[in-house]
Symmetry: C2
Subunit: 360 residues, 2 copies
């Protein structure tokens, strides 16, 4: 028996004096219903507050027409690749929803090559996916993809970073500006305004990533609000990604000055900097970085990194699939945009945030 406060399709049909087939046509905007009937049915749906039973709907559709999701993310080069984490979350969500009829296909692009993104996105457009999960590294190409997806009425969620795009998009990612502010707070607590601050952007083949820049801006904004802190004592260093960097040349200030130092590394590679610094006698040094990769965790355990900021990459992927499922089955788009918390990690709580921990 149906719950008294939520009528079913049968009830609606009876009230409208038509068959359930017609109700279904109206609900799905399928052709073949007279304007008059349609209006009458819609009115009754309104009045009764009818809500589709997704369970029943999926029971039928899981067997006949799966929800198909395409996922376009950067290549996964090795086991410790960052992109394994969103993928883990995506797979977990798909596993949980398997019974409901859902499947995912992966496409990979080269993070340094916009053309590979374009190629792969075209492959996706050839097929008839219901939804797409991707990463908006390349502005122009993302916009083009977005436009075509919109034309084809295919839902899309972007993970990891936020770009200003010309077409409206859904984002599940961390606000990098806020993350930078949090980093400012943490380093200030350790230094007490008594020392020098360094923002280290470790560049890649394409220069600096957009969210690294946003993190730096947030960091500086934090100190700009404090009258006590001179902006002159915050040095930005753009460190080329190169195995044979001579720190003596690139960052003499970091090497030579003897004051306590607060270092904010704006991407996942804080371990790189610490690798390089190994050869130098260091003065008092505090470091805040991003992401729980094995190298960073080793330095965290060794008290060389004081804080890491976590972006919940697994959860981003997980939430994207769950959100898309909810949208596709219930027209509910509220979970397609999520501002991921800025998790603060220290040695003593790191374990909770690893291994695909999926708490929000």
């Amino acid at each position: 028996m149906k719950n008294e406060n939520s009528p079913g399709i049968k009830e609606i049909a009876k009230l409208a004096g038509v068959s359930i087939g017609t109700i279904d046509r109206v609900l799905h905007n399928r052709p073949g219903v007279s304007e008059k009937t349609k209006e009458k049915v819609l009115k009754i749906i309104q009045q009764t507050g009818y809500k589709k039973n997704v369970l029943a709907s999926r029971l039928k559709l899981a067997a006949t027409r799966k929800i198909q999701i395409a996922c376009l993310i950067p290549e996964i080069k090795d086991e410790s690749s960052y992109w394994k984490l969103p993928q883990y979350g995506i797979n977990k969500a798909v596993e949980e929803l398997k019974e409901q009829g859902i499947s995912v296909s992966y496409y990979y692009f080269n993070s340094f090559d916009p053309r590979s993104f374009k190629e792969q996105s075209n492959e996706i457009l050839k097929m008839e996916y219901d939804a797409v999960v991707s990463v908006p590294f390349f502005k122009t190409e993302s916009d083009l993809f977005l436009q075509k997806l919109e034309e084809a009425e295919i839902a899309v969620v972007f993970l990891d970073s936020r770009q200003e795009l010309n077409f409206k998009a859904n984002f599940i990612n961390q606000d990098s500006f806020k993350a930078g502010q949090v980093a400012g707070r943490l380093l200030e607590g350790l230094l007490k305004g008594n020392g020098l601050y360094f923002v280290i952007n470790i560049l890649n083949e394409r220069g600096i990533q957009v969210n690294n820049l946003q993190r730096e801006q947030g960091f500086r904004a934090y100190f700009a609000e404090k009258a006590s802190q001179s902006q002159n004592d915050i040095y930005t260093i753009n460190l080329p990604f190169d195995d044979h960097v001579d720190l003596q040349e690139v960052i003499p200030k970091l090497i030579e000055r003897k004051e306590p130092k607060g270092i904010f590394v704006t991407n996942a590679r804080s371990f790189r900097l610490l690798d390089l610094l190994k050869d130098y006698q260091e003065s008092e040094l505090y470091l805040v970085g991003f992401d729980l990769n094995v190298q960073n965790l080793a330095y965290l355990k060794a008290d060389k990194i004081q804080f890491l900021i976590n972006q919940k990459p697994e959860y981003q992927g997980y939430a994207a699939v769950k959100g898309l499922y909810k949208y596709l089955t219930s027209q509910d788009h509220t979970e397609l945009n999520i501002d991921i918390p800025v998790d603060i990690i220290v040695k003593e709580n790191a374990e909770f945030y690893m291994n695909g921990h999926m708490t929000p």
Copy 2:
């Protein structure tokens, strides 16, 4: 059509040469099946790796027999009560699973009165609930309840705190010892071993709560591992919960010593201490507390509290219901025990963890 890698009940029936009714009887351990048939069916279920389709199962059962959960938590005295938060999460999960056929009934006990817990738990036992969510404040009474629930084969999950109970129980809560260690780390970063540490236990009518004690132990354990820190410089103060405490009398050390101070308040009432300290000229003072209540948040915003530790109370409730649903429908108990992350909150990231944010 069924997915080829997961046979349905029909397929099993055909392979066993019996009807689907018989399969169902075997699956649910219902009487009326000959030993021989049962064995044959079980063997085929084994071989094929049959998994019940929960979707189909719930579609039928949602209409005929709901999953009924009883929730026994402390009284909610006002809008800002801590217990509103788990309740919010419980309600959210029930809302999400409504279609699957689930309902919750609340029972409340007085946190200072074990008898009220006992009374209410007896009320619950009179009804035929499928599962219980509760809080193990009282050891003896919790054990008794647990025993009776076990006899009646009713699943139970405890939230908030962990007690050593005689009967096996499921817990979704934060490890208070670890939370104390994190607090130690945070205060040490701010003080740099240069000052005094205070652990403040704010007592209630029944003295100190078990998890407050565990937090203190974790805090002290953190410093015990550091050779550099003298345990003598960590003072424990048990502060009676009383509106007219004279701090001058109760904690002269905190008032009179002029060194920088690191204060760890082991429960949600750090705001109480700060209220009381208002009347004194304070030396440099750093505070780590628990929970994002409005009073604490106001002090956090005012830079009087440096860090708050969050226990994700909403998520605890949410996860309990989700975990119980999964257990009751799929015999999967993996989500009935969750070690909640020790979230570190500062002024700049607090917003993410409020308002029933449900990320893990």
